[in-house]
């Protein structure tokens, strides 16, 4: 649908409820091979269901057409370039999708006896080992369902550690560049957030940490590379400061795609980290999940990991439930297994060398875009970047054009916009993360589009203000959505 593409059919499609016709069944359930029970005889009358007013009833083909049309209004990684900073929208390999659907991996019940699921336990055990090796941690839990869930897991472990030592700590230090999940997870884990400002170059200074780190503080949560796309150069010294007060250095692993095979986080003082399998390890984002957020820790925190743990003894795998110091559990069962299968498939396909090459290439691609665009767009911090770079709308404000306008205009050129207005420390931020899976040709087209949009901003800003014009819907009234909430369909 871009300027270099063809506009296709964009059919309208009502809500599924508006396609409904009473009594229609798409896919009928199995036949009765036993006598039909009489619910009235078995259950008290008050517990029986009335009619479900307005429940959708459509034919199988109508359901398929409905969802197929809906899908056509979406833009995914498979549709085109998706440089959404901080989200690592890399290619989602098709073999991963085949792998997680193998009956031996998808049709297994979580409460099957251990001897019947040795293959699954082995896969998880090996994946834990790979993640430990990549991060330099001593032990890994695969239980958390997402990045924020992993953060909560790590923070609860820190809290449990200090409680176990007989002196609870109440605070956690979080830089102003952090993802919103960091302070939200800290609050949920019972910590008071101590904010700390990054220096003029987008980095954390040793002095700033020294000034706030004390023995009531459980530790520091740092994203590295940070959300400006810069490696925290003082990380080793900062770790020393945190450790000298008995605290832990938590690394938000959202940006791990820049570091595989390049940095051993454990060796530079990181004590715990969450992995976003849906970012670094190629599992799909699914329109907002499911993801998976394993957590790796150093030895000191190992006793506090969620239960159960996977154990290996004499070639057999088992689940260890009795762990007196464990924080307990954060969900039922063991984690998002089918996401683990995909990440496992990715790591096995890449090998150590391939993962390193992925990180190197992600860095190379990000720097390429940064260099090509820095004369056109204002670069927030002119430093060599890691896997992403952050621009702003500073050069465009004079034409009455904002970051939002650039983002929406990019859609008309056939690209998904970058992350906008984050990190909060950069006014009008435009955060671009190309990932390693894009070709130079694709990046060149994107660069060309960005330059062309900057030119339009000067010569014809209305083009940006009215964008997008080629989409199913144009700019939506988000204020109205909040002021006059319509959050479900209701039968009229």
């Amino acid at each position: 649908m871009g300027e270099n593409g063809v506009k296709g059919l964009l059919l309208d499609e009502p809500l599924i409820f508006e396609r409904s016709s009473e009594g229609r069944v798409g896919v009928a359930p199995a036949e009765f091979d036993i006598p039909e029970a009489d619910p009235k005889g078995l259950l008290p009358a008050g517990l029986l269901r009335d009619k479900i007013d307005g429940f959708p009833e459509v034919s199988e083909m109508d359901a398929v057409r409905h969802y197929t049309r809906l899908s056509q209004w979406n833009f995914g990684v498979d549709s085109g370039f998706y440089p959404l900073g901080s989200c690592t929208m890399k290619y989602n390999p098709k073999v991963n999708e085949v792998a997680c659907r193998l009956p031996g991996l998808s049709l297994i019940h979580p409460y099957e006896p251990e001897e019947l699921v040795q293959g699954a336990l082995e896969l998880m055990y090996e994946l834990e080992g790979y993640l430990a090796e990549i991060s330099g941690m001593d032990a890994v839990t695969l239980q958390p369902s997402a990045g924020a869930h992993g953060e909560l897991c790590g923070l609860l472990m820190m809290a449990a550690y200090f409680k176990d030592k007989g002196r609870a700590r109440t605070k956690i230090i979080i830089p102003d560049t952090a993802h919103g999940t960091n302070p939200a997870s800290s609050h949920l884990a019972g910590f008071k957030v101590v904010p700390v400002k990054s220096d003029g170059k987008g980095a954390l200074s040793v002095e700033a940490i020294k000034a706030v780190m004390d023995e009531d503080t459980a530790g520091l949560m740092v994203t590295n590379p940070n959300t400006i796309g810069l490696f925290e150069k003082n990380i080793k010294e900062i770790a020393r400061v945190v450790h000298s007060k008995g605290g832990f250095l938590y690394c938000d692993g959202a940006n791990l795609n820049a570091l595989m095979g390049i940095v051993n986080l454990g060796a530079i003082g990181v004590d715990l980290i969450q992995f976003n399998l849906h970012k670094t390890f190629s599992t799909p984002h699914g329109g907002g999940g499911p993801g998976s957020g394993p957590v790796g820790v150093k030895k000191a925190l190992e006793p506090f990991l969620p239960a159960p743990r996977i154990k290996k003894a004499r070639g057999k795998y088992s689940l260890e439930y009795v762990r007196p110091k464990s924080i307990g559990r954060l969900k039922a069962f063991y984690g998002n297994f089918s996401i683990m299968v995909r990440a496992y498939a990715y790591i096995r396909r890449m090998g150590g060398e391939g993962l390193k090459r992925a990180s190197e290439t992600a860095i190379l691609n990000a720097n390429y875009i940064k260099e090509q665009l820095k004369d056109t767009y204002h670069l927030a911090y002119d430093e060599p970047c890691m896997h992403e770079s952050v621009f702003s709308d500073k050069n465009l404000l004079g034409y009455g054009v904002t970051t939002m306008d650039v983002a929406k205009r990019l859609i008309d050129y056939g690209f998904h916009p970058p992350t906008v207005y984050f990190p909060l420390v950069v006014h009008g931020a435009i955060m671009i993360e190309p990932t390693e899976t894009e070709t130079k040709e694709t990046m060149d087209k994107f660069i060309e589009a960005m330059k062309s949009i900057a030119e339009e901003a000067r010569t014809n800003p209305e083009l940006l203000k009215n964008a997008p014009i080629k989409t199913k819907v144009r700019r939506v009234d988000e204020t109205r959505a909040a002021r006059e909430p319509v959050l479900r369909w209701v039968k009229k």
Partner: protein, 449 residues
């Protein structure tokens, strides 16, 4: 290298364009932070080698098709119509991100809006969110939400709530000082003990959490429990993790629940050794600002055309940071799509029929097992498609004996309830044929005999 498209020529050109002699010069990581040596990981595999390696692992698992499975307890083996995988395999759905740019995410947004509506219809509630991780974390979020709404601390869990859900609530609430306590179940009826409630519910109680049907499979009298909770100014949180029961049982909302949560895995989501599943949450309109998670709303675009977008974002972490209602960001959107497609395929008539089929099969097996000498139905309450039996021998050995006959005969619940040391939780779905059930009864009779 897999998935990395650059040729050597590309690399050279890109390095030149950024003014770096080689990749090491470009990487802005100080020498003292660099990894010495290489990652110690297995060598990369071709796609064919990988497929072989994974099939080898898969072959060392036994599936619910290799055995007759009567396992449930929060993870249910239901038939998934072919349309479900066909739709969720459309990569416009599965390779997209959270719909932050509504103009190119109307597919995901409309699908979530429809999902929210279906959850409201099933639960009898006004509003629902786009999803949570799973049933257990949904209960924890509901408990936190009830505390925010009531300004009270105490969270009261029925002991007949899934043990792993209870454990999850305790972990989640640790940061907020816990205040979690439990209400005993009635050993005769297998439901929350009303007498125990009278002393446990007080003016400090934020909510009472009841599973419906509960962990033992028993159907709780939700209405009278809600009345008891309300009499003390507490909220009633209803938890359902066998969502097919919604096709037969009165909705939690119609019985007085204030927050309905649970797991919709039963619709469209494979067992996959425990995840990803599909946490849901629905509530009354007046509580919406305390509800965690993404919410999609209907609006219009600048041409006045119907459109959908994320809304009520000011509750969320990316705006409100430490004052957010929850830390949740990534949810289980694709699982919600799978559930929607399954439910839409069934329609109301299909859903009711499916629920009746589950009830009927469970009743058939319950009778067949109860006829065996050494087996009794453990609790007197009505059940849906899961029930607890008490046997004359140690369940561990009995279940092992059944495995030899290719039957996974249910869950030994002694690990969770030491007092219930002769008890097995048995689930039946439309996947269990009459022949399977007859064989199960015959095998159990032999193992016990």
């Amino acid at each position: 290298m897999p998935y990395i498209p650059h040729t050597e020529k590309d690399r050279v050109r890109l390095l030149k364009a950024v003014g770096a002699g080689n990749i090491d010069d470009l990487i802005a990581v100080p020498e003292n932070a660099r990894l010495k040596g290489e990652l110690k990981l297995p060598k990369g595999l071709t796609e064919q080698e990988l497929t072989r390696a994974l099939k080898e692992k898969a072959a060392r698992n036994s599936t619910v098709e290799d055995y007759s499975s009567f396992l449930g307890a929060g993870a249910y083996n239901h038939y998934i119509p072919a349309v479900v995988d066909s739709i969720i395999s459309r990569s416009e759905f599965y390779t997209s991100y959270t719909p932050y740019q509504p103009e190119i995410s109307q597919g995901t947004l409309q699908a979530i809006f429809e999902y929210q509506t279906i959850v409201c219809q099933l639960t009898g509630m006004d509003v629902a969110n786009a999803s949570l991780y799973d049933g257990a974390s949904a209960v924890a979020e509901a408990a936190l939400m009830a505390r925010r709404i009531t300004g009270r601390d105490k969270v009261l869990l029925s002991a007949a709530l899934h043990p792993e859900y209870r454990e999850t609530v305790r972990s989640y609430l640790h940061g907020a000082g816990n205040h979690v306590s439990e209400v005993m179940y009635c050993t005769e009826a297998g439901v929350t003990l009303p007498a125990a409630l009278d002393s446990a519910l007080d003016s400090d109680t934020a909510c009472l959490v009841i599973q419906y049907p509960n962990f033992f499979g028993s159907i709780e009298d939700l209405k009278s429990l809600a009345e008891k909770a309300h009499a003390q100014g507490a909220l009633l949180v209803a938890v359902t993790n066998e969502a097919v029961s919604f096709g037969l049982l009165a909705s939690p909302g119609s019985l007085g629940a204030d927050i309905a949560v649970g797991d919709n895995q039963s619709f469209g989501n494979t067992l996959s050794y425990g995840g990803p599943y599909l946490g849901f949450m629905a509530t009354k309109t007046k509580f919406i600002r305390q509800m965690p998670g993404r919410i999609v709303g209907e609006t219009v675009d600048i041409d006045g055309k119907r459109a959908f977008c994320l809304t009520f974002s000011t509750r969320e972490q990316h705006i409100r940071r430490e004052r957010a209602t929850s830390n949740i960001c990534t949810n289980h959107g694709l699982c919600a799509l799978a559930a929607s497609v399954h439910m839409v395929s069934l329609g109301e008539a299909g859903l009711r029929r499916l629920a009746l089929l589950n009830l009927s099969k469970a009743e058939y097996l319950k009778k067949a097992l109860a006829n065996i000498s050494g087996v009794e139905v453990a609790f007197s309450s009505p059940t849906f498609n899961e029930f607890t039996i008490k046997i004359s021998k140690d369940p561990e050995g009995v279940l092992k004996g059944l495995l030899k006959k290719k039957v996974m005969g249910g869950l030994n619940i002694k690990r969770f309830y030491p007092a219930l040391d002769k008890h097995i939780l048995v689930a039946v779905t439309e996947m269990n044929t009459k022949d399977e059930m007859d064989s199960f009864a015959e095998a159990l009779s032999k193992v016990l005999g």
